[in-house]
Symmetry: C2
Subunit: 582 residues, 2 copies
């Protein structure tokens, strides 16, 4: 998605600034910068400059910058880190500044933000005259790691580590700041610090709890820091949390956080479909976390999850027109769940926007003498391996087809390992280099086929991932899904949508032995994979009785499924991912 | 249940009187009077007298009596009929007064209430100086019919008819009274007059809507008046509403009103199990309505419904100890749904109390030259048919067994028709008189076997109703029940309760072809029918995976079901009426 002009919410009507709007401006700058990096656009460039000029002008002599607090509550700066998103906004500004500098070479925003971070670093830390606080909404931690990686200035990394290590320690900062401002420290959202993951030190956390986006952003920073500091304790906590999420609290789409109440987690296996919250930003956060764990652990299961959340739980947040958004991504609807153009809390549009605009960074990674291909997406990239430029070009219809051609073009012949992800869902993969078949199983390590060789200009890798339709079953504790099946092909989770099916979706049952066929429909929704099967539809009895000693008659029907993330682009009637199986 | 001493709510703590408490006092008097009629109890008699003396003392010179308005809001009498339950309380006082007079022969309360009704009759009516109002919570209408039947004074019947006919007419009284008291007439519960069934004239109503108890009490009065006035239009409306309820909006237990929000109806086929509201008083109200339709139409289908709601949706509201109550009767629970001893809105305890204490009136009815047996319950009754005393004695283990022996003892030989209900669920019935087999099918009329003969002392009727276990399926539009089965034997709906089953109930699936066995368990819950079957329980995979391409393994398990109305008498863990069927 290319960034459009900055929207003014509720245009022409009085607006009430909210304390997290700086973050949305920042995400817009970040998204716009990624867009600039891919496509020159002087008008957009100028628009970004204008926004940055305003930020620069508003910055205080001590470096502080936060629109809400400067304009609305100047006396309340840093008095409620728990609820007021102040450092969270700073975090997004960091990400924007780095993306802007990377895209344009300009340090206008970066200079402003570094002064702001200096201000924060003076005020926060473990010295006697500093606040031992951290933000109720994690974000600044991962952003500071990013700033460190871009600037190579260690103090940013240390500040990130301070915030993460401090979280959940006793005495609890959020209690102290509440008392300091004359508030009852017990009067907090939902009565629990689990809401913002400050209920205990992060290294002791075993269960994914609270607000899902906050959790994902915190865990992302934990993964970053575990890698940077080679911190086994932090990585162990990360992996325990990962295990908890992926074995008990995750939708099949990679969506997460089932409850609207806390925008987050509830209890094990509580994954209702129709009322599922599964905020778009939470699935995006899972992509961030998975990506970071992938870079540290080099294990394809993280890439599998990144891909799952990307193609399903996150992408569903964005309409095909690029201008309508889901905040909530339930797995079933009785109708009426529509994407909107603007939202009171407009976090999702710029978040999905910056994800899509920066997708390239998730596809590959490089190390000293290797290049890894994590995602299969048609496109090209230039990378540097051991100082040698290597261009890589993918040709594929993936995810609609498992055939991938990768052309590797080093500037000069170069030995390195090309790591090719063999997705966890793939039961059979074939690999050829320049037409010569390799034994994939012999090359496998943590989910990647390692092809170490001396690469030459125009080497061609052909990878064939078998991609049959699979039936997915949930753990029987997931009450909503028991007796139901989800259809998946490759990384794509499918759903039934009313417009494609004759029978009301709730009446459809798919016999276990019926084959499910896949085809590509060029004309549908811009071209998507489609699944079809012979199924049965329950019929009301002829007398319309509410209760009967006879089970409903089942008439034959043809079931058609489309990718979940493409639903609600034609109408917003009934939809269901989980199909009754008989 | 015998009436215990009148409880003082929140004993020893200050209480806030609420405007409907008179109704609960009245229901207590009514229940206590029924109890007195069955068992002499001088202490209870004296306690009732004491309450009546207080009511008498508080009555105003003009006849008005309402504790709340007299003590708290004397200036607001009859200013908000829509919300304030004023005439509703009067209705319950009428029922109490009639029951008390019938039980004791004393007219102390009746005299007071008749003066109050005189006061109401002066104030309400279609004369120019009268209010054209009616109560937001129906009750006085059916109570006035009852008062008419006891006193034979036609003016009570006419006032009932006025209230029913006036309801929902234009200009709408509730709008007018709102304007008169300076309120916005549009500020009403849920923004709709459907809530209290005043959205249109009752004869035009086609759909059961709004607060379920209000609906049942209104429809009961409509049935009464349709019978008294031989009013075909009113009866047609009643039957349309009956059809709507029973084919689209009723739980299999006879519970009704699925939503906690309006304590009432929502949309067609919206019958969620776990969140089902199904207020005890609503099922009781359905019994009232069904009973009245039965007396007018003489059709056993109304008795079938009366019996279903009695044994299931209503009785579940009362614990075996007679001292704990459900307000809400969901059809499934994950645990934690417990009966309570007292409730902020204590309508259900005295309502189920007066129902149980007056059960006898639902068992038989008599007419000029007939006696009808509507319910089969061990016990004896004395009735008068054509001026001749007839004693009837039932011996039966019903509802646990379909064998019923009825001894008919007329004071003198007497020809009359004995109508014996053959329940709708019964596929095969055998009937013998003094050992001689009759052809039941030849005797059938509207669900009753009519046995017209000259009855003699000690005639013995033996009725055998076959009572196999039946599997019940819901209409496929009931999303919560699709793929599920309920077990029923005779009038009793069964449920699984955690304490009786090894596997978590949510994991259990009953194969369609497995037989379900019934037995009587003398030691369980005071003696109840129990159903058992070989079933299967879904097993988590060994690796605990959240999603898998393999369906869950199913291990054999024995399922045991108990009557739904007996649940939550041992613990309050998982419960489910609807069982997954495979």
């Amino acid at each position: 998605m290319r960034a459009g002009p900055l929207r003014v919410p509720f245009n022409g009507r009085p607006t009430t600034p909210v304390m997290y709007w700086d973050s949305d401006i920042a995400k817009w700058i970040e998204m716009a910068s990624y867009t600039l990096a891919a496509h020159a656009d002087p008008a957009l460039d100028a628009q970004i400059d204008e926004v940055i000029a305003r930020i620069t002008k508003a910055q205080q002599p001590d470096g502080y910058f936060n629109t809400y607090f400067l304009r609305r509550e100047p006396a309340k700066r840093w008095t409620n880190l728990r609820d007021w998103h102040e450092l969270y906004c700073a975090g997004h500004l960091i990400e924007a500044a780095v993306a802007h500098a990377q895209a344009t070479g300009k340090t206008t925003l970066l200079d402003v933000i570094r002064r702001y971070i200096d201000c924060i670093a003076r005020n926060f830390g473990s010295e006697a005259n500093q606040r031992r606080g951290y933000c109720g909404h994690p974000e600044i931690e991962l952003a500071l790691v990013r700033l460190y990686r871009f600037t190579n200035e260690r103090r940013y990394l240390d500040l990130a580590k301070f915030f993460v290590d401090q979280r959940g320690t006793q005495p609890r900062y959020f209690d102290q700041e509440a008392i300091a401002r004359g508030a009852d420290p017990a009067a907090l959202f939902f009565g629990t610090y689990e809401y913002n993951q400050s209920h205990m030190p992060v290294r002791e956390q075993r269960t994914v709890v609270g607000h899902a986006v906050r959790a994902m952003y915190l865990y992302s920073a934990m993964a970053d820091l575990a890698g940077e500091f080679d911190d086994a304790g932090l990585m162990a906590a990360c992996k325990t949390l990962w295990g908890d999420l992926t074995t008990k609290r995750l939708y099949v789409t990679g969506g997460l956080g089932p409850s609207v109440r806390n925008e987050g987690f509830t209890t094990d296996y509580d994954l209702p479909n129709e009322t599922g919250y599964a905020e778009t930003c939470a699935a995006i956060g899972l992509i961030f976390w998975a990506h970071r764990l992938l870079l540290v652990e080099r294990d394809a299961r993280y890439a599998d999850m990144m891909e799952l959340a990307l193609y399903n739980g996150a992408l569903s947040g964005l309409a095909l027109d690029g201008e309508h958004f889901f905040y909530e991504n339930p797995l079933a609807s009785r109708g009426g769940h529509r994407r909107w153009t603007w939202h009171r809390c407009p976090c999702c549009p710029p978040n999905i926007g910056r994800l899509i605009a920066s997708l390239g960074q998730y596809v590959y990674s490089t190390a000293e003498d290797e290049a890894a291909v994590h995602l299969y997406i048609e496109g090209s990239a230039r990378m540097s391996i051991g100082g040698v430029g290597v261009s890589v070009q993918q040709k594929t219809q993936y995810p609609w087809d498992g055939a991938i051609e990768i052309r590797v073009d080093p500037e000069q012949p170069l030995e390195f390992a090309l790591r090719l992800r063999i997705p966890g869902w793939c039961r059979s993969a074939r690999l050829q280099i320049n037409g010569n078949e390799l034994d994939v199983s012999a090359l496998m390590n943590r989910g990647y086929a390692h092809v170490r060789r001396r690469w030459q200009k125009a080497d061609v890798v052909e990878l064939n991932l078998s991609m049959p339709v699979e039936r997915i079953y949930a753990h029987p504790e997931v009450a909503a899904d028991l007796g139901r099946v989800a259809l998946k092909r490759g990384p794509i989770v499918y759903c039934l949508e009313a417009v494609d099916n004759d029978a009301p979706l709730r009446h459809i049952a798919l016999p276990r032995s019926n084959p499910v066929d896949a085809r590509f429909e060029r004309e549908l929704l811009g071209g998507v994979g489609v699944l079809t099967a012979q199924a049965l539809a329950a019929q009301p009895s002829e007398d319309g009785a509410l209760y009967s000693t006879d089970p409903p008659d089942m008439r034959p029907t043809t079931l058609q499924a489309i990718p979940y993330s493409f639903w609600s682009n034609r109408d917003s009637e009934e939809m269901s991912v989980w199909i009754r199986e008989i």
